[in-house]
């Protein structure tokens, strides 16, 4: 059987792991050659599937001794190529470290292994009347380890923050296999510097996260869901600003542009008009009396700002249906083209309308199709290119349009990745975003944490 593997490396790994947990055949390796990012792929030398922290440490020791790169991954839903293998690497796949170790209802925490699917965490919390708010779009598939390594966001960022805000403590295996714990169960306090904050969002380049203690909060008592339909993008953006100016912090403030709304209607058939410029999904949660009052005000504000229609869900089933307009956006767009490139930019909320207009202009200038949806509450937009990677001339236009979008983002005081990470896809744009001094300090830290440079090399920066 054909193998991409190095026999000596395989022998060293099977000395510390059962042979069944070391994958080396071409067909096994092929499925680990990519993540959720379009276009990028590379076969690894082998894939290991550890089941314990000790096994993770043992793999890292083998890799350190032999100077073999290690690319850590979970479900592989990343959208910036952060878990795409590099040549000759060991893929360290943590999906079998998938136990919920403890749900502590006295201290409102949950301790989990990195391979637990995030949706399971949300469900276990709900089972005991508690709430784990971060809900990245990939929540049903992605693992919590990947969420922490990328500091994933989601639809609730404005009110509830992002993954970082819920990480109390981490256990991390360092490049040499040493295990350390940073943070405690007690509201995130530590003596010394907050190392935890350094590991969160470091995309597997500083250490391998092997255990996570998460903060849970009480489940809100009530929720209201509204859908706004607008003929002008600026009217939708002004509505969002007016809601926040009225001291209301919705838990969800999402939007779809016209291209996306058309695709969603064709896919989910929820009765969206296909001639609107923007659809907004607006949800508030909290105490029933407050939710009622805020929902009524949001409806009024939207109408005052020229909404064509505002629909309010009367039942939970209706709320789910309205919310599905946003939740299905990516799937609805994805079925329209062979290659879908989901971008991830964030601008200050006051610049949203300008940003959306710029994306539309750039799409027209370069003759490419871009559907835009995203999180209006926190300014995080996902311009989504519908293209075909086999069409080289179109790909060149996509590339040019993407560069222009990043430039506009930086000009509007935004950031080139809100929640997907840098990985490979954003690496060329990072120096311009953070400046040479920050780049130098990051490289230095990487070298100090991982002297042999074996942890996810070539990601974030070279």
């Amino acid at each position: 059987m054909m193998t991409a593997s190095d026999p000596e490396l395989t022998a060293a790994l099977t000395a510390v792991l059962p042979a069944a947990q070391v994958l080396t055949t071409a067909e096994d390796l092929a499925v680990f050659a990519f993540d959720g990012t379009a276009i990028l792929h590379q076969l690894p030398a082998c894939v290991v599937m550890p089941e314990t922290v000790e096994q993770v440490a043992a793999v890292l020791r083998v890799a350190s001794e032999r100077h073999v790169p290690v690319v850590t991954r979970g479900s592989g839903t990343g959208l910036s190529g952060g878990s795409v293998p590099c040549e000759g690497c060991i893929v360290l796949c943590l999906v079998r470290l998938n136990h919920i170790l403890e749900v502590d209802t006295a201290n409102l925490t949950m301790t989990v292994e990195p391979g637990v699917v995030t949706q399971m965490i949300a469900e276990r919390a709900a089972d005991v009347g508690l709430f784990y708010p971060p809900d990245p779009g990939s929540i049903r598939i992605s693992t919590i380890g990947g969420n922490v390594a990328n500091n994933s966001g989601g639809l609730r960022g404005l009110k509830y923050g992002v993954t970082r805000d819920y990480v109390m403590a981490l256990q991390v295996a360092m490049a040499d296999g040493q295990i350390l714990t940073t943070g405690t169960k007690c509201v995130k306090d530590v003596a010394g510097f907050s190392l935890r904050d350094l590991f969160i969002g470091s995309e597997g380049t500083l250490g391998v996260i092997t255990r996570i203690t998460l903060k849970l909060i009480p489940q809100p008592a009530a929720k209201a869901t509204l859908l706004g339909l607008f003929d002008e993008m600026t009217a939708a953006a002004e509505t969002i600003s007016a809601i926040i100016a009225a001291k209301i912090i919705p838990c969800t403030l999402e939007f779809l542009d016209r291209t996306t709304a058309e695709c969603v209607e064709g896919y989910a058939h929820i009765g969206l008009p296909t001639d609107v410029a923007a659809v907004t999904l607006m949800e508030v949660d909290g105490h029933p009396a407050e939710v009622e009052e805020q929902a009524a005000r949001i409806e009024q504000i939207a109408r005052d700002h020229g909404a064509r229609d505002v629909r309010r869900a009367a039942t939970a089933a209706e709320a789910t249906q309205l919310a599905s307009a946003r939740r299905t956006a990516f799937s609805a767009l994805a079925r329209r083209a062979p290659t879908v490139i989901l971008e991830d930019v964030t601008v200050p909320r006051s610049r949203l309308a300008e940003m959306v207009a710029a994306i539309q202009r750039i799409a027209a200038d370069h003759d490419v199709t871009i559907g835009t949806f995203g999180h209006m509450g926190d300014g995080n937009l996902h311009p989504t290119f519908l293209t075909d990677e086999r069409n080289a001339t179109e790909m060149a236009r996509v590339e040019a349009a993407m560069k222009e979008i990043f430039q506009v983002t930086i000009d509007l005081e935004g950031t080139i990745t809100g929640e997907h990470g840098v990985g490979l896809a954003k690496k060329p744009f990072l120096p311009a975003a953070v400046g040479p001094v920050a780049m130098e300090v990051m490289r230095r830290l990487k070298k100090d944490f991982d002297p042999a440079g074996i942890l996810n090399p070539g990601k974030i920066f070279d």
């Binding site: 805000d165 509201v187 907050s194 969002g201 912090i249 935004g414 974030i460």
Partner: protein
């Protein structure tokens, strides 16, 4: 305290001063309002870098929910401006003195009673501009909630006690100020009864934003914030649950929590030392019992049991308190008694591998250890 002082007024002057200090190997004690001197160990820095002239609000955009200010901007000034716009810093920072500044607050990572529901100071810092130990200006993070561009180096400056770098601008996330508040005050029969109610209430969906217990009068305090209509029904539901107690109106409630915010309302008398101990709420009962054996005089629980302010005899070795914190999976900080107290044992010691990574981080940002040496023991 280090003398004499350099007094930079701009980021360029800070950078130039740091470069000069780096060239001469002169260490710098960073300070402005001077309200946090009793927190942490006394620095051994040769020269004081007085940041008082780096003050003023750079940008305030209420609709964006952000404020950017220079570090020596008085906290009181920030709060007054926000209050005019019905906004606030949701982490409810303690002052430790009227001259408190925004930079000092971020520098020690100080959070008040609302922290257990709203998050900590570090959760509200979106980005900053700072000068590293080589005198280079770094702008990091941003002004948006979602930003994952590389390592969040700058977050380590939050709670670093003036080590690692000199903040020159800081961007914080704002929140609408709740319309009103009320507090239920209840005489608890015992600490255990108070803790049981605190645990039960911290799991309820009501907007409970303060849960504290004062040992001196055995009172449990539960604050509810929100719209006038919503808080009334919620405090009444808590009252029904507790079976007794009184509801304090908005003004009385505000005054109470301003006191609790500052060291749990406890004052150190001569011969006493105050400790701040953060631990999992489920361990606080054991920790108090252990401290009782060391002569615990009075204490206050905050954050639904996650924070314990404890007054102990000054003769008690700090190591004993740190051991109790460690045994209960927490960390303690000793508050220095006066200017003579160098507060050597301010912090619970770090484990060896964690200490090493702390040093690695410090070497990356401040390789010569110029900033506030000795303040944090790593």
């Amino acid at each position: 305290m280090a003398t004499p002082a350099v007094v930079p007024a701009t980021v360029a002057e800070v950078a130039a001063s740091v470069r000069h200090a780096a060239a001469h190997g002169t260490s710098l004690a960073l300070r402005a309002g001077g309200t946090k001197d009793r927190l942490g160990r006394t620095t051994t820095a040769a020269v004081s870098m007085d940041l008082s002239d780096l003050r003023g609000i750079v940008t305030y955009e209420p609709e964006e929910l952000i404020l950017i200010a220079r570090p020596a901007t008085p906290l009181a000034e920030v709060q007054a401006l926000l209050a005019d716009n019905n906004q606030h810093l949701a982490f409810e920072p303690p002052f430790w003195g009227a001259a408190a500044t925004l930079g000092g607050t971020i520098g020690i990572g100080a959070s008040g009673p609302r922290r257990f529901v709203a998050g900590a100071a570090r959760d509200f810092v979106l980005g900053m501009e700072f000068v590293d130990g080589r005198g280079r200006v770094i702008r990091a993070g941003g002004r948006v909630v979602k930003n994952v561009t590389g390592y969040d180096l700058w977050r380590a400056l939050v709670g670093a006690y003036g080590t690692l770098g000199v903040m020159t601008e800081v961007c914080v996330k704002l929140w609408p100020r709740p319309e009103s508040q009320q507090t239920l005050a209840m005489d608890a029969r015992s600490r255990q009864e108070a803790l049981q109610l605190m645990f039960a209430w911290s799991r309820r969906p009501e907007a409970i934003t303060g849960l504290s217990y004062t040992s001196a009068n055995g009172t449990l305090w539960a604050r509810v914030e929100g719209s006038v209509a919503a808080i009334r029904t919620q405090t009444e539901s808590l009252l029904k649950d507790a079976g007794r107690g009184e509801i304090m109106d908005e003004t009385a409630s505000q005054q109470l929590w301003e006191q609790i915010r500052e060291c749990g309302g406890l004052q150190m008398l001569p011969g006493e030392i105050l400790y701040r101990i953060v631990l999992p709420p489920s361990r606080v009962d054991d920790a108090v019992a252990a401290l009782d054996k060391l002569g615990l005089d009075r204490y206050c629980l905050d954050w639904g049991g996650g924070l314990l302010w404890a007054v102990l005899p000054a003769t008690m070795p700090a190591a004993a308190v740190h051991n109790i914190a460690t045994d209960n999976r927490g960390v303690a900080a000793r508050v220095g008694s006066d200017a003579e107290d160098t507060n050597e044992a301010a912090f619970t010691p770090l484990s060896e591998p964690v200490a090493r990574l702390n040093q690695t981080l410090r070497n990356a940002l401040d390789p010569q250890g110029l900033f506030s040496p000795g303040r944090l023991k790593i």
